[in-house]
């Protein structure tokens, strides 16, 4: 195993002689996407015209199917196949792993008469056209035997238990320190159920060739999808070729295989022709995972100078009864502020709702909505500026583990953000600024999100024309992965971007863990870098060993790669000339990355500071953004454009979190009230004005050979709290229940006589 010390030496990425690292390079696949010619999973060319699948879904939350009649559906025009639990093909029981190395177990569909959540797939129709399939699915008649379920989170809090295998973290003596603290805050903050609402719903096109199935699907993790399908169908994973080349948003919601993948493959096998299947927008809400609601109690005890002496963040959340998942909303707080006496932990209610799962910075996104408002409340009680309060609690080492930070620039983020944003304009007293009908206020919040490196591989080949092709079982969920991998490959090999091709999203390629947890760029990118370094080695050996090369015999350690050339001082030739002559069939090598053995000796995170200015309509309680600014420290930035796009995208999700995004269970039915994007509101263009972000110069040499870190999730972390704090500063109304809709703000304003 490697050590982080191995990463300290200069390398082509950190030297950046070609200047491609950090450059705001346009998206590699941008032209394809804006011209509508990037084939997404539902649009790929199949060997013949696919039949179209459509799912019928359950109308109850819990119980069983007492009777199902598919005769009318079967007789409907164009119908090729109708399945229910009575006649669906056999699949491996849920959760089984025939191959213990499979990353995901079996996930069968239509496996029994049991209904475990509203919206569960209960029948599957394949027809010649989408319209015929949908019409037939509507003709499936079902009688249910409903059973009472646990569907009301607030009413079920007494059923909350410790998540399996977890314990609270106690450091020092929190109860005593809290009781003794002269200044304290004890508040509970509520974050609702949220849905991912990716632009592209989950979709699959599948076809078979003998025993082997090819599936194009929309999934964040290639191997997970391949293994889930293989396990479910009880076939070797080598017989599943999974491709996911273009993905219209994931946000954590496409980290797993859903029914579209299984049913499209089963349908294609049964019919002997390609089948494709997509979730409808409405079906996405119940048919895929959501972020669970979280109730967070924060207790802070401080000395009059602002130093925290007691610190507790306790989060209660929920998950599906048969799919354990914990939204770790308290975890982030373990690394953020110094306090000698600490308590953090989680409680979990098992419910009869669709599966809860990761979404847009799981843990931090809802979690920071609590602590970062509680710090605002504490600052006010202490008469301190919120930034000053945070600075006074800035730890020298990780406050929980005592480990050194790899690099931590949180204070600089806050200070530079304050200066750029004009934080000095903020009035410490709320409700001091009026602009016409708007009450105006400012708020800030810190941002923190862990940084991760996972094992990955990459393959790179160079052909006789000099074109370098990077192949990796990685995904680009719209974040810019194609682009940054092309930059890494080009910079490592010293060639222009035009000389690099990137192919990914293919289970035949060297595996990478995919997109999620903001580990993608560092993980996939480091493997790509390593593959590039191995290719440099191979080409160096080729050149110095080739009597026809101007580099022949030259010292290998002096070989450089720049401007498409391989050179030793003034002796050089193009890579194309070398390969065409010495290896006309091309050269292919692989590379890999694994976490360093001593990486865990450091507390390693990305950081930021959010600043928000809002206007609150003094009559209606409507909140509108006026300005938002963030400063972030996330290692070396690979691409100024795509990184900023990701980080500001996260901030915009933070606006949605603070103001609009919510789903609510109707406890009578166990279903979500919002089942489309007219009801589930995300920010529209008009909601986002004057929003900007910058990155601090940083390189984290404990992170990976390139010193980069992830930015995919940092932007949302804390963003909503900054907005909530700005609402308080504008109105003097402290809301602790997200999102802060006009109704809630108005109720608060009425309560304070506004």
């Amino acid at each position: 195993m490697s050590s982080v010390k191995d990463w300290a030496a200069p390398n082509p990425i950190t030297e950046n002689r070609g200047g491609l690292i950090g450059k705001g390079v346009d998206r590699y696949e941008g032209r394809l996407k804006v011209t509508g010619s990037a084939p997404y999973a539902y649009e790929v060319d199949a060997p013949s015209r696919p039949a179209i699948g459509y799912m019928a879904t359950a109308a109850i939350a819990k119980g069983r199917i007492a009777r199902i009649d598919t005769k009318a559906a079967e007789a409907s025009p164009g119908v090729l196949l109708v399945w229910s639990h009575l006649n669906a093909p056999a699949q491996a029981p849920r959760g089984t792993r025939a191959n213990p190395r499979s990353q995901r177990p079996s996930n069968p569909v239509l496996a029994s008469d049991r209904i475990e959540n509203f919206g569960q797939t209960v029948a599957f129709v394949v027809a010649d056209t989408f319209e015929n399939a949908r019409a037939a699915a509507n003709l499936v008649e079902i009688e249910y035997a409903a059973e009472p379920g646990v569907v009301d989170f607030v009413a079920s809090l007494d059923q909350a238990d410790q998540p399996p295998g977890e314990e609270d973290v106690h450091i020092g003596d929190f109860p005593a320190a809290y009781a003794a603290a002269p200044v304290s805050v004890d508040e509970t903050y509520e974050s609702p159920i949220q849905n991912h609402v990716q632009m592209e719903p989950c979709a699959t096109t599948a076809w078979w060739d003998g025993d082997k199935v090819t599936v194009h699907t929309s999934i964040q993790m290639v191997k997970g999808g391949q293994h889930a399908l293989a396990e479910t169908l009880a076939i070797p994973s080598a017989d599943v070729h999974l491709l996911t080349r273009y993905i219209g948003g994931g946000f954590g919601g496409k980290g797993q295989a859903y029914d579209d993948l299984i049913l499209a493959a089963l349908g294609a096998r049964a019919l002997g022709r390609p089948v494709k299947l997509a979730y409808t927008r409405q079906q996405m809400f119940h048919g895929t995972i959501h972020r669970p609601a979280v109730s967070m109690r924060v207790r802070l005890g401080a000395q009059p100078d602002g130093r925290l002496t007691a610190f507790a963040v306790e989060a209660t959340t929920h998950c599906a009864r048969n799919a354990i998942f914990t939204e770790h909303a308290a975890n982030f707080s373990r690394n953020l502020y110094a306090a000698p006496n600490r308590l953090t932990g989680h409680r979990l209610v098992k419910m009869d709702l669709p599966g809860a799962g990761p979404m847009r910075a799981p843990g931090e996104a809802p979690g920071m909505l609590s602590l970062e408002c509680a710090m605002d409340e504490l600052a006010e009680k202490l008469g301190l500026d919120p930034i000053e309060l945070r600075i006074r609690n800035e730890p020298e080492v990780d406050p929980e583990t005592g480990k050194p930070f790899s690099v931590r620039q949180l204070v600089r983020c806050m200070r530079e953000g304050a200066a750029h944003f004009g934080w000095e304009r903020r009035k410490a007293q709320p409700r001091q600024v009026r602009d016409g009908r708007w009450l105006v206020g400012m708020g800030m919040a810190a941002a923190i999100r862990g940084n991760f490196l996972l094992p990955a591989k990459a393959g790179v080949r160079i052909d006789a024309d000099g074109i370098i092709t990077l192949r990796q079982g990685m995904t680009d969920i719209g974040t810019g992965t194609y682009t940054i991998l092309a930059q890494i490959a080009a910079e490592t090999m010293g060639v222009p971007m035009e000389q690099v091709k990137v192919e990914m999203g293919d289970s035949d390629f060297p595996p990478a863990p995919g997109s999620g947890g903001q580990f993608g760029a560092a993980t996939a990118g480091s493997a790509a870098y390593d593959a590039g370094m191995n290719l440099r080695k191979a080409l160096t050996e080729l050149a110095v060993g080739d009597p026809n090369s101007p580099l022949y015999g030259g010292p290998a350690e002096y070989v450089t790669f720049e401007n498409g050339n391989i050179a030793i001082e003034n002796r050089s030739e193009t890579l194309a000339a070398l390969v065409a002559r010495a290896a006309p069939e091309g050269v292919y090598v692989e590379g890999s990355i694994s976490p360093a053995a001593d990486a865990r000796d450091y507390s390693q995170h990305t950081y930021g500071a959010h600043f928000a200015e809002v206007g609150v309509d003094v009559v209606t309680g409507e909140v509108r953004m006026r300005k938002m600014f963030g400063v972030f420290a996330a290692g070396r930035i690979l691409n100024a454009k795509t990184a900023k796009s990701q980080i500001t995208g996260g901030m915009i999700w933070g606006v949605g979190t603070a103001l609009t995004e919510s789903n609510v269970v109707d406890p009578r039915y166990g279903s979500f009230i919002n089942q489309d994007m007219a009801g589930y509101l995300v920010p529209a263009h008009a909601d986002i004005v004057d929003l900007d972000a910058v990155f601090l110069d940083e390189a984290d040499d404990k992170a990976n050979p390139m010193g980069i870190k992830g930015v995919g999730e940092l932007g949302i972390c804390g963003a909503g709290a900054a907005v909530a704090n700005a609402i308080y500063n504008a109105t003097g109304v402290r809301l602790r229940d997200y999102p802060m809709t006009p109704e809630k703000v108005l109720a608060g304003m009425l309560a304070v006589g506004l």
Partner: protein, 317 residues
């Protein structure tokens, strides 16, 4: 979507006859609402008569007012110079509705006839008297209160009408011109077009089967400033929690009833010299109060009072 047949109407009368003669037939214009509802299996027409290309898409000057073709799309109506000059309240209402893309397709007549956005109407697994008469109203005890009617609701339905445009037309005293299956045309005030739900919430207007809205007649604008304000969860592309249109001494409210709500009590109070706040209270004191709508009632009152005050500062058209 159920199978259906389609025809493009050659002229208005044949369109009207085609729909009148076929109980499963519906008019199709912009399709921005009907087609969505068909895809969701909520609307199930067996035949569509496309009136979107009939020559009803212009604006004419009539007696100091305007006559707007029923097929004119919302974005063009909002951009029309004479409309902008005479009816700023209508322009504001139009551009408050839906999104730019939808306004480019949605027509004047279709906007009036759009159906409620009640979440329970959209979820076909739930009882809804509009969708399935007699099945009950899930919204009555439902979790979503912000779009509920606070005036004129019934035990059978508490849905509100979602149109912004219709609220402005109501405050302007506009009427619709229709063509009936007999070939006669008639005129009906917009405020009389929609019905309260009563026991038959599935019957939403007083139009006869097959009767087609061919135009909207806008009388000369009333004296006084015009204002349209809409409260919604985000800055654009969201259904209103409440809206208010003011034109001179007239006031109409949106998203508060099964129809655009002409606030007669406000108007009477204003005419009698009441303050804006007092006038709003005169209307809201008549609202159907329940334990779940107190906040909405407060909101509508504040909104109406603020809009009335604001209208005093606006120019007369």
């Amino acid at each position: 979507m159920r199978p259906f047949t389609y025809e493009r109407a050659a002229d208005a009368l044949s369109a009207v006859k085609a729909v009148a003669e076929n109980p499963g037939a519906k008019f199709l214009a912009g399709g921005t609402n009907l087609l969505d509802l068909m895809k969701l299996d909520i609307e199930r027409p067996t035949h569509l008569v496309d009136v979107g290309r009939l020559p009803f898409a212009g604006v004419e000057e009539v007696n100091g007012g305007l006559r707007v073709g029923g097929a004119m799309v919302n974005s063009k109506l909002a951009a029309h110079p004479r409309v902008r000059e005479l009816y700023p309240v209508l322009v504001r209402a139009l551009v408050s509705g839906a999104s730019g893309q939808l306004r480019n397709k949605a027509t004047t007549a279709g906007n009036l006839l759009q159906r409620t956005r009640c979440a329970y109407f959209y979820d076909t697994t739930k009882p809804c008297n509009k969708r399935q008469p007699g099945s009950g109203c899930s919204a009555l005890e439902g979790v979503h209160g912000s779009h509920d009617a606070i005036f004129g609701a019934s035990k059978a339905c508490i849905a509100s009408h979602p149109s912004d445009m219709a609220v402005a037309l109501t405050v302007l005293g506009a009427s619709v011109e229709t063509l009936t299956p007999s070939g006669a045309s008639r005129t009906l005030a917009v405020q009389d077009l929609h019905r309260l739900p009563g026991d038959t919430p599935q019957v939403e207007t007083d139009l006869a089967p097959g009767e087609l809205i061919t135009a909207v007649l806008l009388p000369p604008p009333p004296e006084g400033g015009q204002v349209y304000r809409k409260v919604r969860g985000r800055a654009s592309y969201a259904h209103g929690i409440a809206s208010v249109a003011v034109a001179g001494g007239r006031v109409a409210l949106g998203a508060v009833a099964h129809k655009p709500w002409r606030a007669a009590h406000i108007e009477d109070a204003l005419a009698a010299g009441a303050s804006a706040v007092e006038a709003a209270e005169a209307e809201l004191s008549k609202a159907d109060r329940s334990d779940r709508n107190a906040l909405k009632i407060a909101l509508v009152g504040r909104l109406a009072a603020a809009a009335i005050e604001e209208s005093k500062t606006r120019r007369t058209a």
